[in-house]
Protein backbone atom coordinates (compact mmCIF):
# COMPACT_ATOMS: atom_id res chain seq x y z
CA UNK A 1 0.00 0.00 0.00
CA UNK A 2 1.56 3.33 -0.98
CA UNK A 3 2.01 6.03 1.63
CA UNK A 4 -1.12 8.18 2.11
CA UNK A 5 -1.20 11.86 2.99
CA UNK A 6 -4.13 14.09 3.81
CA UNK A 7 -3.63 17.33 1.97
CA UNK A 8 -5.69 20.51 1.72
CA UNK A 9 -5.48 22.19 -1.64
CA UNK A 10 -6.22 25.90 -1.61
CA UNK A 11 -6.92 26.88 -5.20
CA UNK A 12 -7.21 30.34 -6.71
CA UNK A 13 -10.57 30.66 -8.44
CA UNK A 14 -11.75 33.38 -10.76
CA UNK A 15 -14.35 33.39 -13.50
CA UNK A 16 -14.87 36.22 -15.97
CA UNK A 17 -16.32 39.32 -14.29
CA UNK A 18 -16.27 37.71 -10.86
CA UNK A 19 -14.13 38.57 -7.86
CA UNK A 20 -11.27 36.15 -7.18
CA UNK A 21 -11.54 33.76 -4.24
CA UNK A 22 -9.80 30.68 -2.85
CA UNK A 23 -11.53 27.30 -2.64
CA UNK A 24 -10.20 24.52 -0.45
CA UNK A 25 -10.41 20.78 -1.09
CA UNK A 26 -9.15 18.08 1.23
CA UNK A 27 -7.80 15.00 -0.54
CA UNK A 28 -6.09 11.73 0.23
CA UNK A 29 -2.94 11.68 -1.87
CA UNK A 30 0.14 9.61 -2.46
CA UNK A 31 3.07 11.97 -1.73
CA UNK A 32 4.92 10.67 -4.78
CA UNK A 33 2.16 11.94 -7.06
CA UNK A 34 2.71 15.22 -8.81
CA UNK A 35 1.00 18.51 -7.93
CA UNK A 36 -0.80 18.39 -11.30
CA UNK A 37 -2.26 14.97 -10.44
CA UNK A 38 -3.79 16.44 -7.29
CA UNK A 39 -5.24 19.38 -9.23
CA UNK A 40 -6.63 17.03 -11.87
CA UNK A 41 -8.16 14.93 -9.10
CA UNK A 42 -10.00 18.00 -7.76
CA UNK A 43 -11.47 18.50 -11.24
CA UNK A 44 -12.34 14.82 -11.76
CA UNK A 45 -13.95 14.13 -8.39
CA UNK A 46 -14.76 17.39 -6.59
CA UNK A 47 -15.38 20.38 -8.82
CA UNK A 48 -15.93 20.09 -12.56
CA UNK A 49 -15.90 23.86 -12.97
CA UNK A 50 -12.16 24.11 -12.21
CA UNK A 51 -10.14 25.36 -15.20
CA UNK A 52 -6.46 24.48 -15.49
CA UNK A 53 -4.14 23.93 -18.40
CA UNK A 54 -2.16 20.74 -18.94
CA UNK A 55 -1.20 18.40 -21.75
CA UNK A 56 1.88 16.19 -21.74
CA UNK A 57 2.37 15.43 -18.02
CA UNK A 58 6.13 14.96 -18.48
CA UNK A 59 7.66 18.43 -18.94
CA UNK A 60 7.80 18.63 -22.69
CA UNK A 61 4.84 20.90 -23.47
CA UNK A 62 5.07 23.62 -20.82
CA UNK A 63 1.30 23.95 -20.36
CA UNK A 64 0.96 23.34 -16.63
CA UNK A 65 2.95 26.15 -15.05
CA UNK A 66 1.37 27.40 -11.80
CA UNK A 67 2.51 28.99 -8.57
CA UNK A 68 2.74 26.43 -5.80
CA UNK A 69 2.97 28.08 -2.37
CA UNK A 70 4.00 31.22 -4.19
CA UNK A 71 6.77 29.67 -6.28
CA UNK A 72 6.53 28.99 -10.02
CA UNK A 73 6.53 25.27 -10.77
CA UNK A 74 5.89 23.04 -13.73
CA UNK A 75 3.30 21.07 -11.79
CA UNK A 76 3.53 17.85 -13.85
CA UNK A 77 7.06 17.13 -12.60
CA UNK A 78 6.77 18.57 -9.09
CA UNK A 79 6.14 15.73 -6.62
CA UNK A 80 3.89 16.68 -3.71
CA UNK A 81 6.61 15.44 -1.36
CA UNK A 82 8.97 18.14 -2.66
CA UNK A 83 6.71 21.08 -1.84
CA UNK A 84 4.57 20.16 1.16
CA UNK A 85 4.00 17.70 3.97
CA UNK A 86 1.29 15.47 5.38
CA UNK A 87 -1.62 17.49 6.76
CA UNK A 88 -0.47 20.78 5.24
CA UNK A 89 -2.30 23.34 3.11
CA UNK A 90 -0.95 23.72 -0.41
CA UNK A 91 -1.81 27.00 -2.15
CA UNK A 92 -1.97 26.90 -5.93
CA UNK A 93 -2.32 30.08 -7.98
CA UNK A 94 -2.01 31.04 -11.64
CA UNK A 95 1.22 32.45 -13.03
CA UNK A 96 1.80 36.16 -12.50
CA UNK A 97 2.37 38.82 -15.15
CA UNK A 98 -0.17 37.33 -17.55
CA UNK A 99 -3.90 38.09 -17.90
CA UNK A 100 -6.05 35.46 -16.19
CA UNK A 101 -8.43 33.56 -18.46
CA UNK A 102 -10.09 31.58 -15.68
CA UNK A 103 -8.98 30.03 -12.38
CA UNK A 104 -5.45 28.68 -12.91
CA UNK A 105 -5.35 29.44 -16.64
CA UNK A 106 -3.50 32.49 -17.96
CA UNK A 107 -3.26 33.91 -21.47
CA UNK A 108 0.36 33.61 -22.56
CA UNK A 109 -0.23 35.09 -26.02
CA UNK A 110 2.16 37.92 -25.20
CA UNK A 111 5.03 35.51 -24.53
CA UNK A 112 4.36 33.60 -27.75
CA UNK A 113 4.26 36.87 -29.70
CA UNK A 114 7.69 37.74 -28.33
CA UNK A 115 9.06 34.27 -29.06
CA UNK A 116 7.87 34.67 -32.64
CA UNK A 117 9.36 38.13 -32.82
CA UNK A 118 12.82 36.84 -31.85
CA UNK A 119 12.32 33.83 -34.11
CA UNK A 120 13.16 31.41 -31.28
CA UNK A 121 14.39 28.02 -32.43
CA UNK A 122 11.99 25.16 -31.69
CA UNK A 123 14.29 22.46 -33.08
CA UNK A 124 18.09 22.47 -33.14
CA UNK A 125 20.99 20.07 -33.82
CA UNK A 126 21.67 17.84 -30.80
CA UNK A 127 25.30 18.92 -30.87
CA UNK A 128 24.35 22.55 -30.27
CA UNK A 129 22.31 21.84 -27.18
CA UNK A 130 24.29 22.37 -24.03
CA UNK A 131 23.61 18.95 -22.70
CA UNK A 132 25.35 16.91 -20.04
CA UNK A 133 27.64 15.19 -22.59
CA UNK A 134 30.88 17.09 -23.04
CA UNK A 135 30.99 18.35 -26.63
CA UNK A 136 33.97 16.11 -27.41
CA UNK A 137 31.94 12.93 -27.01
CA UNK A 138 29.69 13.71 -29.96
CA UNK A 139 30.46 11.92 -33.19
CA UNK A 140 30.86 14.30 -36.13
CA UNK A 141 27.83 12.77 -37.85
CA UNK A 142 25.65 13.52 -34.79
CA UNK A 143 25.21 17.07 -36.10
CA UNK A 144 22.59 15.73 -38.47
CA UNK A 145 20.36 14.75 -35.53
CA UNK A 146 17.87 17.28 -34.30
CA UNK A 147 16.15 17.73 -31.01
CA UNK A 148 13.46 19.95 -29.60
CA UNK A 149 14.99 22.93 -27.84
CA UNK A 150 15.14 23.13 -24.07
CA UNK A 151 12.81 26.11 -23.75
CA UNK A 152 9.25 24.87 -23.24
CA UNK A 153 7.84 28.39 -23.48
CA UNK A 154 6.01 27.65 -20.23
CA UNK A 155 6.06 31.23 -18.92
CA UNK A 156 7.54 30.40 -15.49
CA UNK A 157 10.45 32.81 -15.99
CA UNK A 158 8.11 35.65 -16.96
CA UNK A 159 6.00 35.02 -13.87
CA UNK A 160 9.03 35.04 -11.57
CA UNK A 161 10.77 38.05 -13.12
CA UNK A 162 10.49 41.22 -10.99
CA UNK A 163 11.05 43.43 -14.03
CA UNK A 164 8.39 41.70 -16.13
CA UNK A 165 6.06 42.44 -13.22
CA UNK A 166 6.43 46.17 -13.78
CA UNK A 167 6.13 46.39 -17.54
CA UNK A 168 4.74 44.09 -20.19
CA UNK A 169 7.00 45.73 -22.75
CA UNK A 170 10.15 44.06 -21.37
CA UNK A 171 11.08 41.18 -23.67
CA UNK A 172 11.66 38.94 -20.67
CA UNK A 173 13.94 36.01 -19.88
CA UNK A 174 12.77 33.33 -22.36
CA UNK A 175 12.82 35.58 -25.47
CA UNK A 176 16.20 37.07 -24.51
CA UNK A 177 17.57 33.56 -23.94
CA UNK A 178 16.25 32.64 -27.38
CA UNK A 179 18.19 35.55 -28.92
CA UNK A 180 21.35 34.44 -27.12
CA UNK A 181 20.76 30.89 -28.37
CA UNK A 182 20.85 32.14 -31.96
CA UNK A 183 23.83 34.44 -31.42
CA UNK A 184 24.53 38.03 -32.47
CA UNK A 185 27.14 37.04 -35.03
CA UNK A 186 24.87 34.67 -36.92
CA UNK A 187 21.76 36.79 -36.43
CA UNK A 188 22.75 40.47 -36.49
CA UNK A 189 19.14 41.35 -37.38
CA UNK A 190 18.24 40.65 -33.74
CA UNK A 191 20.70 43.25 -32.43
CA UNK A 192 18.30 46.25 -32.42
CA UNK A 193 15.76 44.26 -30.40
CA UNK A 194 18.31 42.90 -27.92
CA UNK A 195 19.86 46.36 -27.54
CA UNK A 196 16.54 48.22 -27.21
CA UNK A 197 15.23 49.76 -23.99
CA UNK A 198 12.98 46.70 -23.53
CA UNK A 199 15.84 44.34 -24.27
CA UNK A 200 18.86 43.00 -22.51
CA UNK A 201 19.66 46.13 -20.48
CA UNK A 202 16.31 46.12 -18.71
CA UNK A 203 17.24 42.99 -16.75
CA UNK A 204 18.04 43.83 -13.13
CA UNK A 205 19.97 40.66 -12.31
CA UNK A 206 17.53 39.07 -9.88
CA UNK A 207 18.31 35.59 -11.29
CA UNK A 208 14.75 34.47 -10.55
CA UNK A 209 14.27 33.13 -14.09
CA UNK A 210 17.05 30.62 -13.69
CA UNK A 211 15.82 29.69 -10.23
CA UNK A 212 12.39 28.66 -11.54
CA UNK A 213 13.27 27.37 -15.05
CA UNK A 214 12.19 23.71 -15.15
CA UNK A 215 14.07 22.92 -18.35
CA UNK A 216 17.78 23.80 -17.99
CA UNK A 217 17.61 26.94 -20.13
CA UNK A 218 19.39 29.04 -17.47
CA UNK A 219 18.00 32.30 -18.89
CA UNK A 220 19.92 34.53 -16.45
CA UNK A 221 23.27 33.23 -17.63
CA UNK A 222 22.13 33.59 -21.23
CA UNK A 223 21.02 37.20 -20.65
CA UNK A 224 24.42 38.00 -19.16
CA UNK A 225 26.12 36.36 -22.10
CA UNK A 226 23.87 38.25 -24.49
CA UNK A 227 25.03 41.53 -22.90
CA UNK A 228 28.59 40.54 -23.72
CA UNK A 229 27.53 39.67 -27.27
CA UNK A 230 25.67 42.97 -27.71
CA UNK A 231 28.66 44.98 -26.49
CA UNK A 232 30.85 43.00 -28.89
CA UNK A 233 28.50 43.64 -31.81
CA UNK A 234 28.34 47.38 -31.03
CA UNK A 235 32.13 47.59 -30.82
CA UNK A 236 32.40 45.84 -34.17
CA UNK A 237 29.98 48.42 -35.58
CA UNK A 238 32.02 51.31 -34.21
CA UNK A 239 35.33 49.96 -35.43
CA UNK A 240 33.82 48.85 -38.71
CA UNK A 241 34.76 45.20 -38.52
Amino acid sequence: MPEQWTLTLRLYRQKANEAPRYDTFTLQVNPDEYVLDAVERVWAFHDRSLCFRHACHHSTCGACGMRVNGVEKLTCITPLRAVTQNGAVLTIEPLRNFPIVSDLVVDMGDLYRKMERVNARAVLPVTEAEIEHPASTWNPEDAQYLRLSDCLECGLCISACPVAATTAAYLGPAPLAAIQDQGMRRHPELLPLADSEDGVWRCHSAFECTAVCPSFVDPARRIMDLRRQVVGAKLRQVFGK
Partner: protein, 394 residues
Protein backbone atom coordinates in the same frame (compact mmCIF):
# COMPACT_ATOMS: atom_id res chain seq x y z
CA UNK B 1 -24.73 31.75 -49.61
CA UNK B 2 -23.14 31.49 -46.18
CA UNK B 3 -20.62 28.79 -45.41
CA UNK B 4 -21.94 25.60 -43.82
CA UNK B 5 -21.22 25.54 -40.09
CA UNK B 6 -19.54 22.50 -38.55
CA UNK B 7 -19.05 22.06 -34.81
CA UNK B 8 -16.23 19.77 -33.77
CA UNK B 9 -16.36 18.43 -30.22
CA UNK B 10 -12.88 17.86 -28.84
CA UNK B 11 -9.58 19.64 -29.46
CA UNK B 12 -7.32 16.62 -29.36
CA UNK B 13 -5.33 15.56 -32.40
CA UNK B 14 -8.36 14.44 -34.39
CA UNK B 15 -10.39 17.53 -33.57
CA UNK B 16 -7.73 20.10 -34.48
CA UNK B 17 -6.71 18.24 -37.65
CA UNK B 18 -10.35 17.98 -38.74
CA UNK B 19 -10.82 21.69 -38.02
CA UNK B 20 -7.79 22.44 -40.19
CA UNK B 21 -9.05 20.24 -43.03
CA UNK B 22 -12.61 21.59 -42.98
CA UNK B 23 -11.43 25.21 -42.72
CA UNK B 24 -9.33 24.68 -45.85
CA UNK B 25 -12.36 23.25 -47.63
CA UNK B 26 -14.39 26.35 -46.90
CA UNK B 27 -16.46 25.39 -43.88
CA UNK B 28 -17.17 27.66 -40.96
CA UNK B 29 -15.69 25.64 -38.11
CA UNK B 30 -16.19 25.92 -34.36
CA UNK B 31 -14.20 23.63 -32.09
CA UNK B 32 -15.60 23.15 -28.59
CA UNK B 33 -13.33 21.63 -25.97
CA UNK B 34 -14.03 21.25 -22.26
CA UNK B 35 -10.39 21.83 -21.28
CA UNK B 36 -7.54 23.33 -23.26
CA UNK B 37 -5.97 21.95 -26.45
CA UNK B 38 -4.75 18.38 -25.95
CA UNK B 39 -5.68 17.98 -22.29
CA UNK B 40 -6.78 14.37 -22.64
CA UNK B 41 -5.19 11.45 -24.45
CA UNK B 42 -3.48 13.49 -27.16
CA UNK B 43 -1.34 15.54 -24.79
CA UNK B 44 -0.28 12.45 -22.91
CA UNK B 45 0.69 10.43 -25.96
CA UNK B 46 4.09 8.74 -25.98
CA UNK B 47 5.30 11.13 -28.67
CA UNK B 48 6.37 8.46 -31.16
CA UNK B 49 5.85 9.34 -34.81
CA UNK B 50 5.42 5.74 -35.94
CA UNK B 51 7.16 4.47 -39.04
CA UNK B 52 4.67 1.61 -38.97
CA UNK B 53 7.30 -0.96 -38.03
CA UNK B 54 5.51 -1.66 -34.76
CA UNK B 55 2.43 -2.86 -36.69
CA UNK B 56 4.05 -4.27 -39.84
CA UNK B 57 3.46 -7.91 -38.91
CA UNK B 58 -0.03 -8.09 -37.38
CA UNK B 59 -1.82 -4.90 -38.47
CA UNK B 60 -0.71 -3.99 -41.97
CA UNK B 61 -3.51 -1.49 -42.51
CA UNK B 62 -2.23 0.62 -39.60
CA UNK B 63 1.38 0.15 -40.67
CA UNK B 64 0.72 1.52 -44.16
CA UNK B 65 -1.22 4.47 -42.74
CA UNK B 66 1.66 5.18 -40.37
CA UNK B 67 4.47 5.26 -42.94
CA UNK B 68 2.46 7.49 -45.26
CA UNK B 69 1.49 9.91 -42.52
CA UNK B 70 4.97 9.83 -40.98
CA UNK B 71 6.37 11.24 -44.21
CA UNK B 72 3.59 13.80 -44.62
CA UNK B 73 3.95 15.17 -41.08
CA UNK B 74 7.73 15.44 -41.40
CA UNK B 75 7.06 17.65 -44.41
CA UNK B 76 4.24 19.86 -43.18
CA UNK B 77 5.20 20.33 -39.53
CA UNK B 78 8.99 19.90 -39.06
CA UNK B 79 8.92 22.47 -36.21
CA UNK B 80 7.64 19.90 -33.70
CA UNK B 81 9.58 16.79 -34.75
CA UNK B 82 12.89 15.21 -33.76
CA UNK B 83 13.37 13.33 -37.07
CA UNK B 84 16.15 11.01 -35.98
CA UNK B 85 14.79 7.62 -36.98
CA UNK B 86 14.34 4.55 -34.87
CA UNK B 87 15.83 1.15 -34.15
CA UNK B 88 14.29 -2.26 -33.62
CA UNK B 89 16.64 -4.41 -31.61
CA UNK B 90 16.63 -8.14 -30.81
CA UNK B 91 17.82 -9.26 -27.39
CA UNK B 92 16.92 -12.96 -27.32
CA UNK B 93 16.00 -15.92 -29.53
CA UNK B 94 12.33 -15.09 -29.49
CA UNK B 95 13.16 -11.62 -30.83
CA UNK B 96 15.44 -13.11 -33.49
CA UNK B 97 12.75 -15.47 -34.71
CA UNK B 98 10.44 -12.48 -35.15
CA UNK B 99 12.94 -10.78 -37.47
CA UNK B 100 11.94 -12.65 -40.59
CA UNK B 101 8.26 -11.69 -40.35
CA UNK B 102 9.29 -8.17 -39.43
CA UNK B 103 11.46 -7.74 -42.55
CA UNK B 104 8.73 -9.20 -44.76
CA UNK B 105 6.05 -7.01 -43.13
CA UNK B 106 8.05 -3.82 -43.51
CA UNK B 107 8.77 -4.62 -47.14
CA UNK B 108 5.11 -5.31 -47.83
CA UNK B 109 4.03 -2.05 -46.18
CA UNK B 110 6.70 0.04 -47.88
CA UNK B 111 8.61 0.87 -44.71
CA UNK B 112 12.28 1.57 -45.51
CA UNK B 113 14.46 -0.75 -43.46
CA UNK B 114 18.22 -1.04 -42.99
CA UNK B 115 19.83 -3.93 -41.17
CA UNK B 116 22.77 -3.07 -38.91
CA UNK B 117 25.28 -5.30 -37.19
CA UNK B 118 25.14 -5.07 -33.40
CA UNK B 119 28.48 -3.25 -33.54
CA UNK B 120 27.13 -0.63 -35.97
CA UNK B 121 24.08 -0.16 -33.80
CA UNK B 122 26.23 0.38 -30.71
CA UNK B 123 28.33 2.95 -32.56
CA UNK B 124 25.18 4.88 -33.38
CA UNK B 125 23.68 4.44 -29.92
CA UNK B 126 26.33 3.65 -27.30
CA UNK B 127 23.70 3.25 -24.56
CA UNK B 128 21.96 0.28 -26.17
CA UNK B 129 22.08 -3.04 -24.36
CA UNK B 130 25.47 -4.41 -25.48
CA UNK B 131 23.99 -7.94 -25.60
CA UNK B 132 21.88 -7.06 -28.63
CA UNK B 133 21.77 -9.69 -31.37
CA UNK B 134 20.32 -7.78 -34.33
CA UNK B 135 19.22 -4.24 -35.17
CA UNK B 136 17.16 -2.56 -37.87
CA UNK B 137 16.98 1.14 -38.68
CA UNK B 138 13.53 2.49 -39.58
CA UNK B 139 12.22 6.05 -40.02
CA UNK B 140 10.57 6.56 -36.61
CA UNK B 141 10.64 10.03 -35.08
CA UNK B 142 9.62 11.88 -31.91
CA UNK B 143 7.19 14.79 -31.66
CA UNK B 144 6.06 17.30 -29.07
CA UNK B 145 2.38 16.41 -28.57
CA UNK B 146 1.00 19.82 -27.65
CA UNK B 147 2.93 21.70 -30.31
CA UNK B 148 1.83 19.21 -32.98
CA UNK B 149 -1.80 19.90 -32.14
CA UNK B 150 -1.20 23.64 -31.81
CA UNK B 151 0.34 23.83 -35.29
CA UNK B 152 -2.86 22.34 -36.75
CA UNK B 153 -5.01 24.58 -34.56
CA UNK B 154 -2.99 27.69 -35.47
CA UNK B 155 -3.45 27.03 -39.17
CA UNK B 156 -7.15 26.30 -38.69
CA UNK B 157 -7.54 29.52 -36.71
CA UNK B 158 -5.70 31.44 -39.42
CA UNK B 159 -8.25 30.06 -41.91
CA UNK B 160 -11.16 31.22 -39.81
CA UNK B 161 -11.86 28.37 -37.39
CA UNK B 162 -13.12 29.41 -33.96
CA UNK B 163 -11.78 27.65 -30.89
CA UNK B 164 -13.98 27.58 -27.80
CA UNK B 165 -11.81 26.07 -25.10
CA UNK B 166 -13.05 25.46 -21.54
CA UNK B 167 -16.46 24.89 -23.13
CA UNK B 168 -18.00 21.61 -22.05
CA UNK B 169 -20.78 20.06 -24.13
CA UNK B 170 -23.78 19.51 -21.84
CA UNK B 171 -26.29 18.17 -24.36
CA UNK B 172 -26.74 17.78 -28.06
CA UNK B 173 -29.47 19.98 -29.52
CA UNK B 174 -32.07 17.89 -31.36
CA UNK B 175 -34.76 18.84 -33.87
CA UNK B 176 -37.52 16.64 -32.37
CA UNK B 177 -37.05 13.88 -34.94
CA UNK B 178 -33.89 12.64 -33.28
CA UNK B 179 -31.54 14.57 -35.54
CA UNK B 180 -28.66 16.61 -34.15
CA UNK B 181 -28.68 20.35 -34.85
CA UNK B 182 -26.04 21.70 -32.49
CA UNK B 183 -24.70 21.61 -28.96
CA UNK B 184 -25.43 23.30 -25.64
CA UNK B 185 -22.18 24.23 -23.96
CA UNK B 186 -21.17 25.45 -20.55
CA UNK B 187 -18.45 28.06 -21.01
CA UNK B 188 -16.49 27.14 -17.91
CA UNK B 189 -14.33 30.26 -18.02
CA UNK B 190 -17.30 32.62 -18.10
CA UNK B 191 -19.72 30.37 -16.17
CA UNK B 192 -22.38 30.76 -18.86
CA UNK B 193 -24.55 28.38 -20.88
CA UNK B 194 -24.80 28.84 -24.62
CA UNK B 195 -26.51 27.11 -27.54
CA UNK B 196 -24.48 26.68 -30.74
CA UNK B 197 -26.29 25.62 -33.90
CA UNK B 198 -24.61 23.85 -36.79
CA UNK B 199 -25.23 22.00 -40.02
CA UNK B 200 -23.12 19.14 -38.76
CA UNK B 201 -21.60 18.05 -35.44
CA UNK B 202 -18.39 16.01 -35.42
CA UNK B 203 -17.74 13.97 -32.31
CA UNK B 204 -13.92 13.83 -32.06
CA UNK B 205 -13.70 13.02 -28.38
CA UNK B 206 -11.62 9.84 -28.67
CA UNK B 207 -11.88 7.77 -25.54
CA UNK B 208 -14.85 9.90 -24.46
CA UNK B 209 -16.78 9.39 -27.73
CA UNK B 210 -19.32 7.15 -26.01
CA UNK B 211 -20.32 9.95 -23.63
CA UNK B 212 -21.27 12.21 -26.55
CA UNK B 213 -23.10 9.55 -28.57
CA UNK B 214 -25.01 8.60 -25.42
CA UNK B 215 -26.48 12.13 -25.47
CA UNK B 216 -28.14 11.12 -28.74
CA UNK B 217 -29.10 7.75 -27.30
CA UNK B 218 -26.43 5.86 -29.24
CA UNK B 219 -23.60 3.50 -28.42
CA UNK B 220 -20.11 3.97 -29.82
CA UNK B 221 -17.84 0.92 -30.04
CA UNK B 222 -14.94 2.65 -28.28
CA UNK B 223 -12.81 0.78 -25.78
CA UNK B 224 -10.79 3.13 -23.57
CA UNK B 225 -7.48 1.33 -23.09
CA UNK B 226 -4.99 3.19 -20.86
CA UNK B 227 -1.27 2.68 -20.74
CA UNK B 228 1.53 4.10 -18.61
CA UNK B 229 4.49 6.22 -19.68
CA UNK B 230 7.55 7.02 -17.57
CA UNK B 231 9.88 9.87 -18.54
CA UNK B 232 13.45 9.58 -17.20
CA UNK B 233 15.71 12.57 -16.74
CA UNK B 234 18.53 11.68 -19.16
CA UNK B 235 18.59 11.71 -22.94
CA UNK B 236 20.27 8.34 -23.37
CA UNK B 237 19.48 7.80 -27.07
CA UNK B 238 18.90 9.96 -30.13
CA UNK B 239 16.48 7.55 -31.81
CA UNK B 240 13.35 5.70 -30.81
CA UNK B 241 14.39 2.23 -29.65
CA UNK B 242 11.85 -0.59 -30.08
CA UNK B 243 11.99 -4.21 -28.96
CA UNK B 244 11.97 -6.40 -32.07
CA UNK B 245 8.95 -8.50 -31.18
CA UNK B 246 5.19 -8.40 -31.04
CA UNK B 247 3.87 -5.28 -29.32
CA UNK B 248 4.23 -5.71 -25.57
CA UNK B 249 4.61 -3.80 -22.31
CA UNK B 250 7.40 -1.24 -22.08
CA UNK B 251 8.87 -2.12 -25.45
CA UNK B 252 9.55 1.40 -26.75
CA UNK B 253 12.05 3.93 -25.41
CA UNK B 254 12.22 7.28 -27.11
CA UNK B 255 14.17 10.48 -26.68
CA UNK B 256 12.50 13.81 -26.11
CA UNK B 257 14.32 17.02 -25.16
CA UNK B 258 16.61 15.92 -22.30
CA UNK B 259 14.59 12.84 -21.44
CA UNK B 260 13.85 9.33 -22.54
CA UNK B 261 10.26 8.15 -22.28
CA UNK B 262 9.48 4.45 -21.74
CA UNK B 263 6.08 3.03 -22.64
CA UNK B 264 3.70 1.46 -22.35
CA UNK B 265 1.10 -0.94 -20.97
CA UNK B 266 -2.43 -1.84 -21.97
CA UNK B 267 -5.42 -2.45 -19.74
CA UNK B 268 -9.07 -1.47 -19.62
CA UNK B 269 -10.60 1.30 -17.56
CA UNK B 270 -14.07 2.44 -16.61
CA UNK B 271 -13.62 6.06 -15.49
CA UNK B 272 -11.45 7.65 -18.16
CA UNK B 273 -11.39 11.10 -16.53
CA UNK B 274 -8.80 10.05 -14.00
CA UNK B 275 -6.53 7.02 -14.29
CA UNK B 276 -4.29 6.61 -11.27
CA UNK B 277 -0.68 5.51 -11.73
CA UNK B 278 0.16 2.20 -10.08
CA UNK B 279 3.58 1.39 -8.65
CA UNK B 280 3.80 -2.08 -10.24
CA UNK B 281 3.46 -0.56 -13.72
CA UNK B 282 6.20 1.96 -12.97
CA UNK B 283 8.44 -0.92 -11.91
CA UNK B 284 7.55 -2.82 -15.07
CA UNK B 285 8.60 0.14 -17.24
CA UNK B 286 11.93 0.32 -15.44
CA UNK B 287 12.55 -3.40 -15.93
CA UNK B 288 11.47 -3.55 -19.55
CA UNK B 289 13.04 -0.21 -20.48
CA UNK B 290 16.37 -1.09 -18.93
CA UNK B 291 16.49 -4.30 -20.97
CA UNK B 292 16.72 -2.05 -24.03
CA UNK B 293 18.80 0.72 -22.43
CA UNK B 294 20.52 -0.50 -19.24
CA UNK B 295 21.56 3.05 -18.26
CA UNK B 296 17.91 3.85 -17.51
CA UNK B 297 18.59 2.28 -14.11
CA UNK B 298 20.90 5.21 -13.34
CA UNK B 299 18.34 7.81 -14.40
CA UNK B 300 15.53 9.17 -12.26
CA UNK B 301 11.84 9.31 -13.18
CA UNK B 302 10.91 12.90 -14.07
CA UNK B 303 7.27 12.44 -15.04
CA UNK B 304 4.93 9.44 -14.75
CA UNK B 305 1.55 9.48 -16.44
CA UNK B 306 -1.31 7.50 -17.94
CA UNK B 307 -2.91 8.01 -21.33
CA UNK B 308 -6.09 6.38 -22.56
CA UNK B 309 -6.12 5.06 -26.12
CA UNK B 310 -9.48 5.07 -27.85
CA UNK B 311 -9.50 1.67 -29.55
CA UNK B 312 -12.35 0.79 -31.87
CA UNK B 313 -13.86 -2.48 -33.00
CA UNK B 314 -13.88 -5.91 -31.44
CA UNK B 315 -11.24 -7.86 -29.56
CA UNK B 316 -9.31 -6.32 -26.71
CA UNK B 317 -6.06 -4.59 -25.79
CA UNK B 318 -2.97 -5.44 -27.79
CA UNK B 319 -4.78 -7.60 -30.33
CA UNK B 320 -7.10 -4.79 -31.43
CA UNK B 321 -6.26 -2.99 -34.63
CA UNK B 322 -4.89 0.54 -34.20
CA UNK B 323 -6.73 1.88 -37.20
CA UNK B 324 -9.54 4.42 -36.98
CA UNK B 325 -13.24 4.49 -37.83
CA UNK B 326 -15.52 7.27 -38.93
CA UNK B 327 -19.21 6.67 -38.24
CA UNK B 328 -21.90 8.61 -40.04
CA UNK B 329 -24.77 8.11 -37.63
CA UNK B 330 -27.23 8.61 -40.49
CA UNK B 331 -26.02 5.27 -41.81
CA UNK B 332 -25.61 3.51 -38.48
CA UNK B 333 -28.68 4.73 -36.61
CA UNK B 334 -30.61 6.96 -39.03
CA UNK B 335 -29.69 10.07 -37.05
CA UNK B 336 -28.76 13.05 -39.21
CA UNK B 337 -26.23 15.69 -38.22
CA UNK B 338 -23.73 13.68 -36.18
CA UNK B 339 -20.46 12.07 -37.29
CA UNK B 340 -18.18 10.25 -34.85
CA UNK B 341 -14.47 9.75 -35.52
CA UNK B 342 -12.40 7.69 -33.12
CA UNK B 343 -9.66 5.12 -32.85
CA UNK B 344 -6.41 5.71 -34.68
CA UNK B 345 -3.25 7.17 -33.30
CA UNK B 346 -1.35 10.44 -33.21
CA UNK B 347 0.70 9.56 -36.28
CA UNK B 348 -2.42 9.14 -38.39
CA UNK B 349 -4.21 12.26 -37.14
CA UNK B 350 -4.14 13.98 -40.52
CA UNK B 351 -5.50 10.93 -42.34
CA UNK B 352 -8.28 10.59 -39.77
CA UNK B 353 -9.18 14.21 -40.35
CA UNK B 354 -9.14 13.76 -44.12
CA UNK B 355 -11.49 10.81 -43.90
CA UNK B 356 -13.82 12.63 -41.52
CA UNK B 357 -13.81 15.78 -43.61
CA UNK B 358 -14.58 13.66 -46.69
CA UNK B 359 -17.65 12.26 -44.93
CA UNK B 360 -18.75 15.66 -43.66
CA UNK B 361 -18.22 17.36 -47.03
CA UNK B 362 -20.09 14.63 -48.90
CA UNK B 363 -23.06 15.16 -46.57
CA UNK B 364 -22.89 18.96 -46.93
CA UNK B 365 -22.43 18.83 -50.70
CA UNK B 366 -18.96 20.39 -50.67
CA UNK B 367 -16.83 19.32 -53.64
CA UNK B 368 -13.47 20.83 -52.61
CA UNK B 369 -10.80 18.13 -52.33
CA UNK B 370 -8.52 17.69 -49.33
CA UNK B 371 -5.29 19.70 -49.49
CA UNK B 372 -3.81 19.01 -46.06
CA UNK B 373 -1.13 16.69 -47.46
CA UNK B 374 0.59 19.60 -49.17
CA UNK B 375 -0.23 22.50 -46.85
CA UNK B 376 2.64 23.43 -44.53
CA UNK B 377 1.37 24.34 -41.08
CA UNK B 378 1.92 27.70 -39.37
CA UNK B 379 4.03 28.07 -36.25
CA UNK B 380 2.40 26.48 -33.20
CA UNK B 381 2.84 29.83 -31.43
CA UNK B 382 0.37 31.44 -33.77
CA UNK B 383 -2.46 29.56 -32.11
CA UNK B 384 -1.96 31.93 -29.20
CA UNK B 385 -0.92 35.05 -31.08
CA UNK B 386 -4.04 34.85 -33.25
CA UNK B 387 -6.19 34.53 -30.14
CA UNK B 388 -8.59 37.34 -29.34
CA UNK B 389 -9.94 36.30 -26.00
CA UNK B 390 -11.21 38.99 -23.66
CA UNK B 391 -8.47 39.86 -21.24
CA UNK B 392 -8.38 41.14 -17.74
CA UNK B 393 -5.29 41.50 -15.61
CA UNK B 394 -5.35 40.10 -12.12
Amino acid sequence: MSKPHVIIIGAGFTGVATAHDLALRGCQVTVVERGDICNGTSGRTHGLLHSGGRYAVKDKESAIECIEENQILRRIVPQVIEPNGGLFIALDDSDLSYAEQFIAGCEECGIPLEELTPQQALTLEPNLNPRLLAAFLIPDATFDPLRLALAFAATARHNGAQFRTYAEVETLLMDGQGNVTGVRILDRAANRHEDLHADMVVNATGAWAGQITAMAGLDAPVHPTPGIMVAYDQRLVQRAVNRLNEPGDGDIVLPQRRMVVVGTTSFTAENVDYIPVTEDQVQLMLERGSELIPAIRNARPRGIYMATRPLVGSGSGRSMARTFKCFDHKETHNIEGLVTITGGKATTMRAMAEKTADVVCAKLGIQTPCTTRETPLLSYRQYYTLSNQEKHYA
